[in-house]
């Protein structure tokens, strides 16, 4: 069940359009910066396959200039205990 977060840059003058498009998509929640042409997108998908499909859909959006991931979470990895830092001791 991946949860990902992105910084999204819209094409010039299309921030509001992109915000609407993203919030209309399933598994997506977007919010806009007040004073810059930047959006934050959080995606929450039930499985890896859906995540891949969503990524393809996102890449097709014309009002989007770029998409940069800042956060990735996967239940399976987390529950194995990987990455909590302590097993290295």
């Amino acid at each position: 069940m991946p949860v990902l977060a992105y910084i999204v840059t819209p094409r010039s003058g299309e921030k509001n359009k992109l915000l609407k498009e993203l919030n209309a998509m399933q598994h997506c929640e977007a919010l806009s910066a007040d004073n810059a042409d930047i959006l934050i997108l959080v995606t929450d998908t039930p499985d890896k396959e859906t995540e891949k499909q969503l990524e393809k859909q996102l890449n097709k959006i014309e009002s989007m200039e770029s998409l940069s991931m800042t956060f990735g979470y996967n239940d399976e990895l987390q529950y194995k205990g990987e990455g909590d830092g302590h097993e290295d001791r």
């Binding site: 910084i7 919010l31 934050i40 929450d44 979470y73 990455g83 909590d84």
Partner: protein, 772 residues
């Protein structure tokens, strides 16, 4: 109704993206971002200072039920104005690592066994009493921290210095801030910066002296970048020994050879005088000139002693002293081109520019740390750029309460909450407030931190209680001090929140409440005291460090000095502590004011905070009738010191041919015992490394990621190479961050220290490299 795990993760994801955006685009705002509020409507937000560095960012902790589930910057806090760095945004996750200590443990037959915490406290009290009876009061010691809350440090000082009568109280801030303290005391007679973060909003020039602010103080650095973007007259100069993210973001990066900052600072003064950029009106009214002892040693031997002696000189003698520091001569020593030295001098000397100098560990962890602090003050004093908005020599701190707890409460061997143990008046005041018989406090300081661990190794100290710090990662020349702690007849108590290499040497482990699991106060770099409530309950039997000390004190028979109930002890302790600072020079805000605000700066006089000390327009303690009053010194002047360049304790030679520099990274805080348990931070920076200059790496045939052995005269450690990574050292130098307990770099470092401040130098020793 409780928030579900999924919503929490989504909030963390959004938090991470917002944090990244704010670091990439300074000043960006997401006012519509409500995290989980809109979705759930059940989060309550409580104010606190951030748990980590000394910047003192205000945060709002989102709480659902009895769990902290979110965090955001507090827009009401003037420090960060709603921003946080990546550590701050993930700080609440540090509360919930799966191996959190929740029960007390006692070593029985060589194994740690869980016991009720009351039983563990009984054992500690009995062992302290037995040790004092057998070996004397100076055989027991408390080693605390700049992460202690103010009440933690206050009760530790009261129990050990007041009730037991030993000055064996030290804190890890000796390892990070002691040179800043002695720098302030020798130049101004009182501790802590005269300016405040608001200087950033006024300065035209920022010079970072060996200070990678982009990673170590990112919120303040983003404020600088925002000012540069907003105004067209702002210049940032990075003056350092290695290229870092700060260098990359600055307008000019100037690199110098380790230890030669002393010479460059003197050369800047030489140029200021040569060009007659001296502010004579300021200097004539407010400055006096002095020199101290030279060839002062490095403290490498046990029981090393040094006492400086100030001797008055005049301006002409100071000018003559500087003749050894012409830009051309200093270029040969430092590697800094003479033109760059002149450029730096011209920035300080230009009367139309306001200049702020920032520094932290680069200048403080230095065998001449006091001197280099003095020398940067010299520059600002010569040109009169001090104590006015934008003109600020500013010593930053690395821990959330290095100032509040260690410097202000005085949890160092020679200090009391007001004054030093050597002064009868200071002892009398403490004995009066603490309701102790006259003569209870010993007039002789005992051991500073390095000396204290040496005393533990020798057996002069037999019992040590360590709270909120991890010396078995951070002590230089680590092996000696770990071996000392493990000796059979030593008894070590460790209060902490997670297992660490320090709990590994403990005979008793006490589970501690962490950060907002207790009420307390921190004091940040700009004299700001920040109160926080107990926002969530501590897990299991975890207990605040303050209450642990109170419990033991009562078992030792000091009920009278520690009479408070658990419901009100923090407020009562604060009001008692505040009596020590009852003067316009240091008055602290009342408890109810602290509770209401997101931090209050001292001196707090007649309901008003003091932003620029020594400036009569701002500081009510100024009484001379002049525009400035440096009231800390008996001559009512700030002191300029003639301090020469002297070499490091150990420099590279033919066999050990590299300098070793150690430090931190943005993702992890100090030894990583908290931040490495935050998955986002750990995954971003899972392991330490050794940065090697690309040309040195090419000469040795080393490739990125290859395991490299770093060997010194003390020990060795093997870790992966980083070439052209985040930081790039100059040729002949390597850099290693110390957050990773897998690679204990302090096995290699040297325990040399500044003879005045007793602060070790973690930035310079000699090593050689071998392929593993």
């Amino acid at each position: 109704m409780k928030i579900d795990r999924r919503s929490f993760i989504k909030s963390a994801a959004a938090t991470s993206a917002v944090a990244t955006a704010t670091s990439l685009f300074p000043g960006i705002s997401f006012a519509s971002w409500k995290q989980l509020e809109g979705a759930t409507g059940m989060i309550r937000w409580e104010k606190a200072p951030c748990r980590f560095c000394g910047t003192g960012c205000g945060v709002l902790v989102g709480v659902s039920g009895d769990r902290a589930v979110a965090v955001k910057g507090d827009p009401a806090c003037s420090v960060n104005k709603g921003l946080c760095c990546v550590k701050g945004y993930h700080s609440v996750q540090a509360l919930y690592g799966k191996d959190r200590l929740t029960k007390a443990q006692v070593r029985k037959n060589g194994k740690m066994v869980e016991v009720p915490i009351q039983e563990a406290l009984d054992i500690i009290a009995a062992k302290m009493k037995e040790t004092i009876d057998k070996h004397g009061k100076d055989s027991v010691a408390m080693y605390g921290s700049g992460q202690w809350t103010i009440p933690d440090g206050y009760v530790a000082s009261k129990l050990f210095k007041g009730c037991i009568g030993t000055n064996n109280v030290e804190a890890n801030a000796r390892l990070c801030m002691a040179s800043a303290v002695t720098g302030f005391l020798t130049s101004f007679g009182v501790d802590e910066p005269m300016g405040c973060y608001e200087d950033i909003d006024y300065a035209n020039v920022f010079i970072t002296w060996g200070n990678n602010m982009a990673e170590m103080h990112p919120v303040l650095f983003s404020r600088m970048l925002a000012q540069r973007k907003r105004r067209n007259d702002v210049t940032i100069i990075d003056f350092a020994t290695r290229t870092t993210r700060t260098s990359q973001a600055s307008d000019k990066s100037i690199l110098f050879k380790p230890q030669t900052d002393l010479a460059v600072a003197n050369a800047i003064c030489y140029e200021i005088i040569r060009n007659d950029w001296v502010n004579w009106d300021f200097v004539n009214k407010h400055v006096s000139f002095h020199k101290g002892k030279t060839n002062i040693g490095y403290g490498l031997e046990d029981k090393f002693k040094f006492k400086d002696k100030a001797e008055g000189i005049d301006f002409e003698q100071f000018k003559t002293f500087l003749k050894d520091y012409t830009p051309e001569k200093v270029e040969k020593m430092s590697g800094v081109p003479a033109r760059d030295i002149r450029y730096l001098a011209s920035l300080y000397g230009d009367p139309t520019k306001k200049v702020t100098s920032f520094w932290c560990m680069g200048m403080n962890q230095h065998t001449r740390g006091t001197w280099i602090n003095n020398l940067v003050y010299n520059i600002h004093l010569l040109v009169g750029k001090i104590s006015t908005p934008g003109n600020s020599p500013f010593s930053l701190t690395g821990q959330p309460s290095a100032c509040g707890t260690v410097r202000e409460v005085g949890t160092l061997t020679h200090k009391l909450p007001h004054g030093v143990v050597m002064k009868p008046k200071a002892r009398e005041l403490a004995e009066k407030i603490w309701e102790l018989p006259a003569g209870s406090i010993d007039p002789k300081p005992t051991y500073h931190t390095v000396a204290m661990f040496r005393a533990l190794d020798r057996g002069d100290i037999r019992f040590m209680w360590i709270q909120v710090t991890n010396p078995m990662v951070t002590m230089p020349k680590l092996k000696r001090y770990r071996d000392g702690a493990l000796k059979e007849d030593r008894f070590i108590v460790v209060s902490d929140v997670y297992p660490t290499p320090t709990t590994d040497v403990a005979d008793v482990i006490l589970p501690a409440a962490m950060w907002v699991e207790q009420e307390g106060m921190f004091g940040n770099s700009e004299r700001r005291t920040q109160h926080f409530d107990e926002i969530v309950p501590p897990p299991g039997e975890a207990m605040s460090d303050t209450w642990q000390i109170i419990e033991v004190a009562r078992r030792l028979g000091f009920e009278k000095q520690f009479p408070w109930s658990q419901e009100e002890y923090i407020g009562k302790i604060w009001e008692e502590y505040r009596r020590f600072h009852d003067s316009p020079k240091h008055n602290m805000a009342p408890y109810k004011v602290l509770k209401a605000r997101s931090g209050v700066q001292w001196p707090f006089v007649n309901g008003k905070e003091t932003r620029w000390r020594f400036n009569a327009k701002h500081d009510p303690a100024c009484t001379s009738g002049e525009d400035f009053h440096f009231y800390g010194k008996k001559d009512n002047r700030a002191w300029i010191w003639a301090r020469p360049y002297e070499p490091a304790a150990e420099s590279p030679d033919q066999e050990y041919n590299f300098w070793l520099n150690t430090g931190r990274v943005i993702e992890h805080w100090h030894t990583g015992s908290m931040t490495r348990r935050v998955p986002v931070l750990h995954n971003a920076m899972p392991s330490a490394y050794v940065e090697i200059n690309p040309e040195d790496a090419a000469d040795m045939g080393i490739v990125n990621g290859e395991m490299i052995k770093i060997i010194s005269r003390r020990g060795e450690v093997t870790m992966p190479a980083s070439i052209n990574g985040r930081g790039v050292p100059t040729r002949g130098q390597v850099f290693v961050p110390f957050f990773d307990e897998k690679y204990l770099i302090n096995e290699v470092t040297l325990d040399a220290f500044c003879p005045i401040s007793k602060q070790p130098d973690y930035k310079k020793c000699a090593v050689k490299l071998e392929k593993a």
